[in-house]
Protein backbone atom coordinates (compact mmCIF):
# COMPACT_ATOMS: atom_id res chain seq x y z
CA UNK A 1 0.00 0.00 0.00
CA UNK A 2 1.38 3.40 -1.00
CA UNK A 3 -0.83 5.32 1.45
CA UNK A 4 2.05 6.98 3.31
CA UNK A 5 3.36 8.33 -0.01
CA UNK A 6 0.01 9.76 -0.98
CA UNK A 7 -0.35 11.57 2.32
CA UNK A 8 3.15 13.03 2.18
CA UNK A 9 2.77 16.75 1.42
CA UNK A 10 5.26 18.54 -0.84
CA UNK A 11 7.74 20.90 0.86
CA UNK A 12 7.17 24.65 1.00
CA UNK A 13 10.13 25.41 -1.29
CA UNK A 14 8.68 23.16 -3.95
CA UNK A 15 5.28 24.88 -3.60
CA UNK A 16 6.78 28.35 -3.98
CA UNK A 17 8.68 27.31 -7.11
CA UNK A 18 5.48 25.96 -8.56
CA UNK A 19 3.75 29.28 -7.83
CA UNK A 20 6.44 31.30 -9.61
CA UNK A 21 6.11 29.06 -12.67
CA UNK A 22 2.36 29.24 -12.70
CA UNK A 23 2.05 30.45 -16.34
CA UNK A 24 3.95 27.31 -17.40
CA UNK A 25 1.71 25.08 -15.33
CA UNK A 26 -1.79 26.52 -15.63
CA UNK A 27 -3.47 23.32 -14.58
CA UNK A 28 -2.20 23.54 -10.98
CA UNK A 29 -4.89 24.86 -8.62
CA UNK A 30 -3.82 28.11 -6.83
CA UNK A 31 -2.84 27.38 -3.25
CA UNK A 32 -4.14 30.60 -1.68
CA UNK A 33 -7.74 30.80 -0.45
CA UNK A 34 -9.89 32.56 -3.06
CA UNK A 35 -11.45 35.87 -2.09
CA UNK A 36 -15.03 35.95 -0.87
CA UNK A 37 -16.29 37.62 -4.00
CA UNK A 38 -14.95 34.74 -6.01
CA UNK A 39 -16.28 32.09 -3.63
CA UNK A 40 -19.77 33.50 -3.45
CA UNK A 41 -19.94 34.57 -7.05
CA UNK A 42 -20.75 38.23 -6.42
CA UNK A 43 -21.41 40.11 -9.58
CA UNK A 44 -19.02 42.96 -10.27
CA UNK A 45 -20.08 45.66 -12.74
CA UNK A 46 -17.53 46.39 -15.50
CA UNK A 47 -15.35 49.26 -14.39
CA UNK A 48 -15.95 48.71 -10.67
CA UNK A 49 -12.81 48.00 -8.63
CA UNK A 50 -12.24 44.47 -7.40
CA UNK A 51 -13.11 43.68 -3.81
CA UNK A 52 -9.82 42.67 -2.25
CA UNK A 53 -10.73 42.75 1.42
CA UNK A 54 -12.94 40.40 3.36
CA UNK A 55 -15.83 41.96 5.26
CA UNK A 56 -14.13 41.69 8.65
CA UNK A 57 -11.03 43.39 7.36
CA UNK A 58 -13.02 46.56 6.71
CA UNK A 59 -14.18 46.89 10.33
CA UNK A 60 -12.34 49.47 12.36
CA UNK A 61 -12.07 47.95 15.86
CA UNK A 62 -11.98 50.64 18.48
CA UNK A 63 -12.35 49.98 22.21
CA UNK A 64 -13.79 53.38 23.19
CA UNK A 65 -16.22 53.28 20.27
CA UNK A 66 -17.29 49.84 21.41
CA UNK A 67 -17.92 51.09 24.94
CA UNK A 68 -19.98 54.00 23.63
CA UNK A 69 -21.96 51.60 21.51
CA UNK A 70 -22.69 49.32 24.47
CA UNK A 71 -23.81 52.30 26.55
CA UNK A 72 -26.04 53.59 23.72
CA UNK A 73 -27.68 50.24 23.09
CA UNK A 74 -28.35 49.48 26.75
CA UNK A 75 -29.84 52.95 27.17
CA UNK A 76 -32.14 52.26 24.21
CA UNK A 77 -33.09 48.88 25.69
CA UNK A 78 -33.93 50.46 29.03
CA UNK A 79 -36.02 53.09 27.25
CA UNK A 80 -37.91 50.31 25.41
CA UNK A 81 -38.76 48.64 28.71
CA UNK A 82 -39.94 51.86 30.32
CA UNK A 83 -41.87 52.97 27.23
CA UNK A 84 -43.83 49.74 27.41
CA UNK A 85 -45.44 50.98 30.59
CA UNK A 86 -46.29 54.33 29.02
CA UNK A 87 -48.09 53.16 25.92
CA UNK A 88 -47.72 52.25 22.25
CA UNK A 89 -44.55 53.78 20.73
CA UNK A 90 -43.81 55.47 24.04
CA UNK A 91 -46.91 57.67 23.99
CA UNK A 92 -49.99 57.35 26.22
CA UNK A 93 -52.77 55.35 24.61
CA UNK A 94 -55.16 58.28 24.73
CA UNK A 95 -52.71 60.33 22.71
CA UNK A 96 -52.31 57.47 20.24
CA UNK A 97 -56.05 57.15 19.77
CA UNK A 98 -56.82 60.84 19.53
CA UNK A 99 -54.04 61.85 17.15
CA UNK A 100 -55.28 62.86 13.73
CA UNK A 101 -51.93 63.53 12.17
CA UNK A 102 -48.34 62.76 12.99
CA UNK A 103 -45.24 64.62 11.86
CA UNK A 104 -42.76 61.94 10.96
CA UNK A 105 -40.01 63.97 9.31
CA UNK A 106 -39.25 67.63 9.75
CA UNK A 107 -36.02 69.52 9.13
CA UNK A 108 -35.01 71.59 12.08
CA UNK A 109 -31.27 71.19 12.30
CA UNK A 110 -28.27 69.25 11.06
CA UNK A 111 -29.28 66.13 12.99
CA UNK A 112 -32.43 65.82 10.89
CA UNK A 113 -30.32 65.41 7.73
CA UNK A 114 -28.70 62.32 9.21
CA UNK A 115 -32.04 60.50 8.96
CA UNK A 116 -31.82 60.63 5.18
CA UNK A 117 -29.59 58.99 2.61
CA UNK A 118 -29.03 60.77 -0.68
CA UNK A 119 -27.95 58.74 -3.67
CA UNK A 120 -27.80 59.01 -7.43
CA UNK A 121 -26.82 56.85 -10.35
CA UNK A 122 -23.20 57.71 -9.64
CA UNK A 123 -23.24 54.47 -7.61
CA UNK A 124 -23.75 52.46 -10.77
CA UNK A 125 -21.34 54.46 -12.88
CA UNK A 126 -23.60 57.34 -13.98
CA UNK A 127 -22.87 61.07 -13.94
CA UNK A 128 -25.71 62.46 -11.84
CA UNK A 129 -25.05 64.29 -8.60
CA UNK A 130 -27.34 64.90 -5.67
CA UNK A 131 -26.84 66.77 -2.43
CA UNK A 132 -28.94 67.53 0.60
CA UNK A 133 -28.51 70.57 2.78
CA UNK A 134 -30.53 72.64 5.18
CA UNK A 135 -32.43 75.65 3.91
CA UNK A 136 -31.54 79.20 4.77
CA UNK A 137 -33.58 79.45 7.96
CA UNK A 138 -32.79 75.88 9.14
CA UNK A 139 -36.46 75.05 8.78
CA UNK A 140 -36.34 73.23 5.47
CA UNK A 141 -34.04 70.95 3.58
CA UNK A 142 -32.91 71.41 0.04
CA UNK A 143 -32.26 68.47 -2.29
CA UNK A 144 -30.41 69.66 -5.35
CA UNK A 145 -28.02 68.39 -7.95
CA UNK A 146 -27.62 67.50 -11.57
CA UNK A 147 -29.34 64.73 -13.42
CA UNK A 148 -27.51 63.21 -16.32
CA UNK A 149 -29.17 60.58 -18.44
CA UNK A 150 -25.96 59.58 -20.18
CA UNK A 151 -25.67 55.86 -19.41
CA UNK A 152 -22.35 54.62 -18.07
CA UNK A 153 -20.12 53.00 -20.63
CA UNK A 154 -20.09 49.52 -19.13
CA UNK A 155 -21.66 47.67 -22.02
CA UNK A 156 -24.79 46.65 -20.12
CA UNK A 157 -26.62 49.73 -18.77
CA UNK A 158 -29.02 51.21 -21.28
CA UNK A 159 -30.79 53.86 -19.22
CA UNK A 160 -29.57 56.03 -16.44
CA UNK A 161 -30.21 59.27 -14.65
CA UNK A 162 -31.79 59.31 -11.21
CA UNK A 163 -31.28 60.92 -7.86
CA UNK A 164 -33.10 60.04 -4.69
CA UNK A 165 -33.34 60.81 -1.02
CA UNK A 166 -34.34 57.92 1.18
CA UNK A 167 -35.17 57.82 4.86
CA UNK A 168 -33.15 55.43 7.00
CA UNK A 169 -34.89 52.53 8.66
CA UNK A 170 -35.56 53.23 12.34
CA UNK A 171 -33.49 50.98 14.57
CA UNK A 172 -34.18 49.76 18.08
CA UNK A 173 -31.54 48.71 20.58
CA UNK A 174 -28.75 46.47 19.25
CA UNK A 175 -29.57 47.59 15.72
CA UNK A 176 -32.80 45.65 15.55
CA UNK A 177 -35.14 46.85 12.84
CA UNK A 178 -38.10 48.94 13.88
CA UNK A 179 -41.05 49.97 11.76
CA UNK A 180 -43.39 52.91 11.48
CA UNK A 181 -46.95 52.00 12.39
CA UNK A 182 -49.10 54.21 10.20
CA UNK A 183 -52.22 52.05 10.42
CA UNK A 184 -54.13 54.87 12.12
CA UNK A 185 -53.64 57.11 9.10
CA UNK A 186 -54.75 57.04 5.49
CA UNK A 187 -52.92 59.92 3.79
CA UNK A 188 -49.36 61.03 3.31
CA UNK A 189 -48.97 64.80 3.38
CA UNK A 190 -45.90 66.63 2.13
CA UNK A 191 -45.00 70.27 1.94
CA UNK A 192 -42.66 70.81 -0.98
CA UNK A 193 -41.58 73.50 -3.37
CA UNK A 194 -40.37 71.67 -6.41
CA UNK A 195 -38.73 72.58 -9.66
CA UNK A 196 -41.73 71.85 -11.83
CA UNK A 197 -40.58 68.34 -12.67
CA UNK A 198 -42.43 65.15 -11.80
CA UNK A 199 -40.97 63.25 -8.88
CA UNK A 200 -42.05 60.00 -7.33
CA UNK A 201 -42.87 59.10 -3.77
CA UNK A 202 -41.95 55.55 -2.76
CA UNK A 203 -43.03 53.77 0.37
CA UNK A 204 -41.65 50.39 1.26
CA UNK A 205 -42.94 48.03 3.91
CA UNK A 206 -41.13 45.27 5.76
CA UNK A 207 -40.93 42.10 3.69
CA UNK A 208 -40.04 38.56 4.56
CA UNK A 209 -38.85 36.75 1.45
CA UNK A 210 -35.75 37.78 -0.41
CA UNK A 211 -37.88 37.88 -3.59
CA UNK A 212 -39.82 40.77 -2.11
CA UNK A 213 -36.76 42.77 -1.19
CA UNK A 214 -37.31 45.21 -4.09
CA UNK A 215 -41.07 45.60 -3.61
CA UNK A 216 -41.89 49.31 -3.41
CA UNK A 217 -45.20 51.16 -3.44
CA UNK A 218 -45.04 54.26 -5.64
CA UNK A 219 -46.98 57.32 -6.54
CA UNK A 220 -46.22 60.50 -8.46
CA UNK A 221 -45.45 63.90 -7.14
CA UNK A 222 -46.03 66.65 -9.68
CA UNK A 223 -44.35 69.81 -8.52
CA UNK A 224 -45.39 73.22 -9.67
CA UNK A 225 -42.02 74.91 -9.60
CA UNK A 226 -43.48 78.20 -8.45
CA UNK A 227 -42.29 80.40 -5.62
CA UNK A 228 -45.05 79.14 -3.36
CA UNK A 229 -45.01 76.05 -1.21
CA UNK A 230 -47.21 73.19 -2.25
CA UNK A 231 -49.14 70.93 0.13
CA UNK A 232 -49.48 67.50 -1.40
CA UNK A 233 -51.85 64.96 0.12
CA UNK A 234 -51.62 61.44 -1.26
CA UNK A 235 -53.97 58.75 0.08
CA UNK A 236 -52.15 55.50 0.73
CA UNK A 237 -54.74 53.72 -1.40
CA UNK A 238 -53.27 55.43 -4.45
CA UNK A 239 -49.88 53.83 -4.09
CA UNK A 240 -49.28 51.03 -6.56
CA UNK A 241 -46.98 48.08 -6.12
CA UNK A 242 -43.80 47.85 -8.17
CA UNK A 243 -40.93 45.43 -8.16
CA UNK A 244 -37.55 46.67 -9.39
CA UNK A 245 -39.29 49.57 -11.06
CA UNK A 246 -41.87 47.47 -12.90
CA UNK A 247 -45.54 47.90 -12.07
CA UNK A 248 -46.99 44.56 -11.00
CA UNK A 249 -50.15 43.06 -12.46
CA UNK A 250 -51.14 41.61 -9.11
CA UNK A 251 -51.74 44.76 -7.10
CA UNK A 252 -52.24 44.93 -3.35
CA UNK A 253 -52.84 47.83 -0.99
CA UNK A 254 -49.92 48.87 1.15
CA UNK A 255 -50.10 47.51 4.69
CA UNK A 256 -49.28 50.38 6.98
CA UNK A 257 -48.41 48.55 10.17
CA UNK A 258 -44.80 47.92 9.13
CA UNK A 259 -43.61 50.83 6.99
CA UNK A 260 -39.88 50.89 6.67
CA UNK A 261 -38.79 53.68 4.37
CA UNK A 262 -39.91 56.62 2.32
CA UNK A 263 -38.07 57.65 -0.80
CA UNK A 264 -38.30 60.58 -3.21
CA UNK A 265 -36.56 59.81 -6.49
CA UNK A 266 -36.37 61.88 -9.62
CA UNK A 267 -35.60 60.83 -13.15
CA UNK A 268 -35.04 62.77 -16.28
CA UNK A 269 -34.42 62.22 -19.96
CA UNK A 270 -31.66 64.78 -20.33
CA UNK A 271 -29.02 66.49 -18.28
CA UNK A 272 -30.82 68.91 -15.99
CA UNK A 273 -30.45 70.59 -12.67
CA UNK A 274 -32.97 69.45 -10.10
CA UNK A 275 -34.00 70.88 -6.79
CA UNK A 276 -36.63 70.03 -4.22
CA UNK A 277 -36.73 72.20 -1.12
Amino acid sequence: MSLPRITHLPSGRLLSTILHHQPLLPSIIPLTVPKRAVIQGEYRRPGQPKKTKFAWQKINFNFSKGLEGIKKHFTLLKKEFTDRWVGPEGKPIVEHMLEQNRVVWEFRGPESLREWTVSSDREIGGHSEAYLKLGRNNNTCFLYGTLSSTPPRDGETRYSGYCTMRSKQPLASFDRKKHHDWSSFNTLQLRVRGDGRPWMINVSAETYFSHQKDDIYCYFLYTRGGPYWQDVKIPFSKFFLTHRGRVQDDQHPVWLDKVVQRKIPSQSDDKTDVSLP
Partner: protein
Protein backbone atom coordinates in the same frame (compact mmCIF):
# COMPACT_ATOMS: atom_id res chain seq x y z
CA UNK B 1 -62.80 31.32 -3.41
CA UNK B 2 -64.65 28.69 -5.40
CA UNK B 3 -67.36 27.35 -3.08
CA UNK B 4 -66.53 23.72 -3.92
CA UNK B 5 -62.86 24.24 -3.05
CA UNK B 6 -63.88 26.05 0.12
CA UNK B 7 -66.15 23.17 1.06
CA UNK B 8 -63.37 20.62 0.45
CA UNK B 9 -60.91 22.61 2.54
CA UNK B 10 -63.34 23.06 5.40
CA UNK B 11 -64.19 19.37 5.21
CA UNK B 12 -60.49 18.58 5.34
CA UNK B 13 -60.13 20.76 8.42
CA UNK B 14 -62.99 18.98 10.14
CA UNK B 15 -61.80 15.55 9.07
CA UNK B 16 -58.25 16.17 10.30
CA UNK B 17 -59.41 17.18 13.75
CA UNK B 18 -61.87 14.29 13.92
CA UNK B 19 -59.19 11.78 12.93
CA UNK B 20 -56.92 13.06 15.69
CA UNK B 21 -59.78 12.94 18.20
CA UNK B 22 -60.65 9.38 17.28
CA UNK B 23 -57.14 7.97 17.04
CA UNK B 24 -55.28 5.89 19.58
CA UNK B 25 -52.27 5.33 17.34
CA UNK B 26 -49.65 8.05 17.07
CA UNK B 27 -49.34 7.77 13.32
CA UNK B 28 -53.04 8.32 12.79
CA UNK B 29 -52.99 11.28 15.18
CA UNK B 30 -50.04 12.76 13.30
CA UNK B 31 -51.93 12.27 10.04
CA UNK B 32 -54.89 14.19 11.41
CA UNK B 33 -52.62 17.07 12.42
CA UNK B 34 -51.01 17.15 8.99
CA UNK B 35 -54.42 17.20 7.31
CA UNK B 36 -55.35 20.18 9.46
CA UNK B 37 -52.20 22.03 8.48
CA UNK B 38 -52.53 21.33 4.78
CA UNK B 39 -56.23 22.19 4.70
CA UNK B 40 -55.77 25.59 6.27
CA UNK B 41 -52.84 26.64 4.05
CA UNK B 42 -55.00 27.57 1.02
CA UNK B 43 -57.47 29.31 3.29
CA UNK B 44 -54.68 31.49 4.60
CA UNK B 45 -53.40 32.50 1.17
CA UNK B 46 -56.74 33.00 -0.51
CA UNK B 47 -56.18 36.77 -0.68
CA UNK B 48 -52.69 36.47 -2.21
CA UNK B 49 -51.41 39.53 -0.38
CA UNK B 50 -47.64 39.33 0.25
CA UNK B 51 -48.25 39.51 3.99
CA UNK B 52 -50.76 36.64 3.83
CA UNK B 53 -48.26 34.54 1.90
CA UNK B 54 -45.59 35.40 4.45
CA UNK B 55 -47.91 34.38 7.30
CA UNK B 56 -48.77 31.14 5.52
CA UNK B 57 -45.13 30.26 4.95
CA UNK B 58 -44.24 30.91 8.57
CA UNK B 59 -47.22 28.85 9.71
CA UNK B 60 -46.35 25.98 7.43
CA UNK B 61 -42.72 25.89 8.53
CA UNK B 62 -43.55 25.92 12.23
CA UNK B 63 -46.29 23.33 11.94
CA UNK B 64 -44.14 21.09 9.78
CA UNK B 65 -41.31 21.31 12.30
CA UNK B 66 -43.70 20.44 15.12
CA UNK B 67 -45.18 17.55 13.16
CA UNK B 68 -41.74 16.20 12.32
CA UNK B 69 -40.71 16.39 15.98
CA UNK B 70 -43.93 14.66 16.98
CA UNK B 71 -43.36 11.89 14.47
CA UNK B 72 -39.77 11.46 15.59
CA UNK B 73 -40.83 11.30 19.23
CA UNK B 74 -43.55 8.73 18.57
CA UNK B 75 -41.16 6.60 16.52
CA UNK B 76 -38.59 6.84 19.33
CA UNK B 77 -41.26 5.76 21.79
CA UNK B 78 -42.21 2.85 19.55
CA UNK B 79 -38.56 1.85 19.35
CA UNK B 80 -38.05 2.10 23.12
CA UNK B 81 -41.32 0.61 24.35
CA UNK B 82 -42.53 -1.38 21.35
CA UNK B 83 -45.99 0.15 21.08
CA UNK B 84 -47.74 3.12 19.46
CA UNK B 85 -50.51 3.87 21.94
CA UNK B 86 -51.05 7.57 22.55
CA UNK B 87 -51.71 7.10 26.26
CA UNK B 88 -48.70 4.87 26.80
CA UNK B 89 -45.88 7.37 26.39
CA UNK B 90 -43.94 6.47 29.51
CA UNK B 91 -40.34 7.16 28.56
CA UNK B 92 -39.36 10.70 29.51
CA UNK B 93 -37.49 11.53 26.30
CA UNK B 94 -40.32 11.00 23.81
CA UNK B 95 -42.79 12.44 26.29
CA UNK B 96 -40.81 15.68 26.58
CA UNK B 97 -40.33 15.90 22.84
CA UNK B 98 -44.01 15.41 22.21
CA UNK B 99 -44.92 18.04 24.78
CA UNK B 100 -42.58 20.53 23.14
CA UNK B 101 -43.84 19.63 19.67
CA UNK B 102 -47.42 20.18 20.71
CA UNK B 103 -46.44 23.40 22.46
CA UNK B 104 -44.97 24.62 19.16
CA UNK B 105 -48.15 23.56 17.38
CA UNK B 106 -50.39 25.68 19.57
CA UNK B 107 -48.00 28.59 20.09
CA UNK B 108 -47.03 28.21 23.72
CA UNK B 109 -44.13 30.25 25.05
CA UNK B 110 -41.19 30.01 24.58
CA UNK B 111 -42.20 28.61 21.17
CA UNK B 112 -44.70 31.40 20.54
CA UNK B 113 -42.79 33.82 18.28
CA UNK B 114 -44.62 32.80 15.13
CA UNK B 115 -48.15 33.32 16.41
CA UNK B 116 -48.49 37.15 16.48
CA UNK B 117 -46.90 37.59 13.06
CA UNK B 118 -48.97 34.82 11.48
CA UNK B 119 -52.21 36.06 12.95
CA UNK B 120 -51.41 39.63 11.87
CA UNK B 121 -51.03 38.53 8.25
CA UNK B 122 -54.41 36.82 8.06
CA UNK B 123 -57.93 38.06 7.65
CA UNK B 124 -60.17 37.85 10.69
CA UNK B 125 -62.09 34.71 9.66
CA UNK B 126 -58.97 32.65 9.03
CA UNK B 127 -57.47 34.07 12.21
CA UNK B 128 -60.52 32.84 14.07
CA UNK B 129 -60.09 29.31 12.68
CA UNK B 130 -56.41 29.40 13.60
CA UNK B 131 -57.09 30.56 17.16
CA UNK B 132 -59.89 28.11 17.87
CA UNK B 133 -60.28 25.09 15.65
CA UNK B 134 -56.58 24.50 15.06
CA UNK B 135 -55.98 24.16 18.78
CA UNK B 136 -58.49 21.35 19.29
CA UNK B 137 -56.46 18.52 17.81
CA UNK B 138 -53.18 19.27 19.64
CA UNK B 139 -55.09 19.68 22.88
CA UNK B 140 -56.79 16.33 22.37
CA UNK B 141 -53.32 14.78 22.34
CA UNK B 142 -52.00 16.88 25.22
CA UNK B 143 -54.88 15.81 27.44
CA UNK B 144 -54.10 12.16 26.78
CA UNK B 145 -50.40 12.42 27.59
CA UNK B 146 -49.03 11.14 30.86
CA UNK B 147 -47.11 14.10 32.30
CA UNK B 148 -43.50 13.02 32.57
CA UNK B 149 -42.13 16.27 33.86
CA UNK B 150 -44.35 18.48 35.95
CA UNK B 151 -41.59 21.08 35.94
CA UNK B 152 -41.71 21.39 32.17
CA UNK B 153 -45.45 21.96 32.14
CA UNK B 154 -45.23 24.56 34.90
CA UNK B 155 -42.37 26.35 33.13
CA UNK B 156 -44.28 26.36 29.84
CA UNK B 157 -47.41 27.60 31.58
CA UNK B 158 -45.74 30.34 33.60
CA UNK B 159 -43.66 31.57 30.68
CA UNK B 160 -46.69 31.73 28.44
CA UNK B 161 -48.74 33.62 31.00
CA UNK B 162 -46.02 36.17 31.57
CA UNK B 163 -45.05 36.60 27.94
CA UNK B 164 -48.67 36.73 26.84
CA UNK B 165 -49.34 39.54 29.26
CA UNK B 166 -46.10 41.45 28.58
CA UNK B 167 -46.27 41.11 24.82
CA UNK B 168 -49.81 42.37 24.51
CA UNK B 169 -49.19 45.47 26.63
CA UNK B 170 -48.65 48.17 24.01
CA UNK B 171 -50.05 46.51 20.92
CA UNK B 172 -52.26 48.56 18.67
CA UNK B 173 -53.06 45.82 16.19
CA UNK B 174 -56.07 43.81 17.33
CA UNK B 175 -54.95 40.53 15.81
CA UNK B 176 -51.65 40.69 17.64
CA UNK B 177 -53.48 41.48 20.89
CA UNK B 178 -55.59 38.37 20.35
CA UNK B 179 -52.47 36.33 19.58
CA UNK B 180 -50.88 37.34 22.88
CA UNK B 181 -54.20 36.71 24.62
CA UNK B 182 -54.16 33.21 23.14
CA UNK B 183 -50.63 32.64 24.44
CA UNK B 184 -51.63 33.78 27.93
CA UNK B 185 -54.75 31.64 28.03
CA UNK B 186 -52.84 28.60 26.84
CA UNK B 187 -50.38 29.23 29.65
CA UNK B 188 -53.17 29.09 32.20
CA UNK B 189 -54.43 25.88 30.66
CA UNK B 190 -51.03 24.24 30.84
CA UNK B 191 -50.49 25.26 34.45
CA UNK B 192 -53.38 23.14 35.70
CA UNK B 193 -53.11 20.37 33.10
CA UNK B 194 -51.33 17.83 35.27
CA UNK B 195 -53.50 18.52 38.34
CA UNK B 196 -56.95 18.72 36.84
CA UNK B 197 -57.37 18.11 33.10
CA UNK B 198 -61.09 18.82 33.36
CA UNK B 199 -60.36 22.43 34.35
CA UNK B 200 -58.03 22.66 31.35
CA UNK B 201 -60.85 21.54 29.12
CA UNK B 202 -63.24 24.00 30.73
CA UNK B 203 -60.73 26.83 30.23
CA UNK B 204 -60.26 25.82 26.62
CA UNK B 205 -63.99 25.85 25.92
CA UNK B 206 -64.48 29.16 27.67
CA UNK B 207 -61.55 30.62 25.75
CA UNK B 208 -63.07 29.39 22.48
CA UNK B 209 -66.40 31.05 23.19
CA UNK B 210 -64.80 34.36 24.17
CA UNK B 211 -62.37 34.40 21.25
CA UNK B 212 -65.11 33.47 18.83
CA UNK B 213 -67.21 36.38 20.06
CA UNK B 214 -64.29 38.79 19.89
CA UNK B 215 -63.30 37.85 16.38
CA UNK B 216 -66.88 38.09 15.15
CA UNK B 217 -67.32 41.52 16.70
CA UNK B 218 -64.13 42.74 15.01
CA UNK B 219 -65.22 41.19 11.75
CA UNK B 220 -68.55 42.97 11.86
CA UNK B 221 -66.87 46.28 12.55
CA UNK B 222 -64.06 45.52 10.04
CA UNK B 223 -61.63 46.65 12.69
CA UNK B 224 -58.02 45.61 12.74
CA UNK B 225 -56.50 48.24 15.02
CA UNK B 226 -57.61 49.76 18.28
CA UNK B 227 -58.77 53.04 16.76
CA UNK B 228 -61.52 51.48 14.69
CA UNK B 229 -63.69 50.15 17.55
CA UNK B 230 -63.46 53.61 19.12
CA UNK B 231 -65.48 55.00 16.22
CA UNK B 232 -67.83 52.06 15.73
CA UNK B 233 -70.57 53.44 17.98
CA UNK B 234 -72.17 55.21 15.04
CA UNK B 235 -72.29 52.00 12.99
CA UNK B 236 -73.46 49.51 15.61
CA UNK B 237 -74.28 51.19 18.93
CA UNK B 238 -75.63 48.08 20.68
CA UNK B 239 -72.68 45.96 19.68
CA UNK B 240 -70.25 48.69 20.68
CA UNK B 241 -71.92 48.88 24.07
CA UNK B 242 -71.51 45.12 24.58
CA UNK B 243 -67.97 44.93 23.20
CA UNK B 244 -66.29 45.99 26.46
CA UNK B 245 -68.01 43.09 28.23
CA UNK B 246 -66.57 40.61 25.74
CA UNK B 247 -63.10 42.12 25.99
CA UNK B 248 -63.14 42.28 29.79
CA UNK B 249 -64.32 38.69 29.89
CA UNK B 250 -61.38 37.73 27.69
CA UNK B 251 -59.18 39.61 30.09
CA UNK B 252 -60.50 37.54 32.98
CA UNK B 253 -62.25 40.19 35.01
CA UNK B 254 -64.82 39.14 37.60
CA UNK B 255 -67.79 38.75 37.62
CA UNK B 256 -67.64 37.90 33.91
CA UNK B 257 -67.33 34.36 32.59
CA UNK B 258 -63.64 34.69 31.75
CA UNK B 259 -62.79 34.92 35.42
CA UNK B 260 -64.28 31.53 36.23
CA UNK B 261 -61.50 29.34 34.76
CA UNK B 262 -58.82 31.51 36.36
CA UNK B 263 -60.49 31.22 39.74
CA UNK B 264 -60.80 27.45 39.46
CA UNK B 265 -57.17 27.13 38.32
CA UNK B 266 -55.88 29.23 41.21
CA UNK B 267 -58.00 27.26 43.64
CA UNK B 268 -56.66 23.97 42.28
CA UNK B 269 -53.07 25.18 42.35
CA UNK B 270 -53.30 26.32 45.96
CA UNK B 271 -54.36 22.80 46.97
CA UNK B 272 -51.26 21.24 45.42
CA UNK B 273 -48.69 22.57 47.85
CA UNK B 274 -46.23 23.48 45.13
CA UNK B 275 -43.97 25.70 47.24
Amino acid sequence: MNPYILAILLFGLGLGTTITFASSHWLLAWMGLEMNTLAIIPLMTQHHHPRAVEATTKYFLTQATAAATLLFASVTNAWLTGQWEIQQITHPLPSTMITLALALKIGLAPLHAWLPEVLQGLDLTTGLILSTWQKLAPFALILQLQPSSSTLLIILGLTSTLIGGWGGLTQTQLRKILAYSSIAHLGWMFLVLQFSPSITLLTLLTYFIMTFSTFLVFKLNESTNINTPATSWAKAPALTALMPLILLSLGGLPPLTGFMPKWLILQELTKQGLA
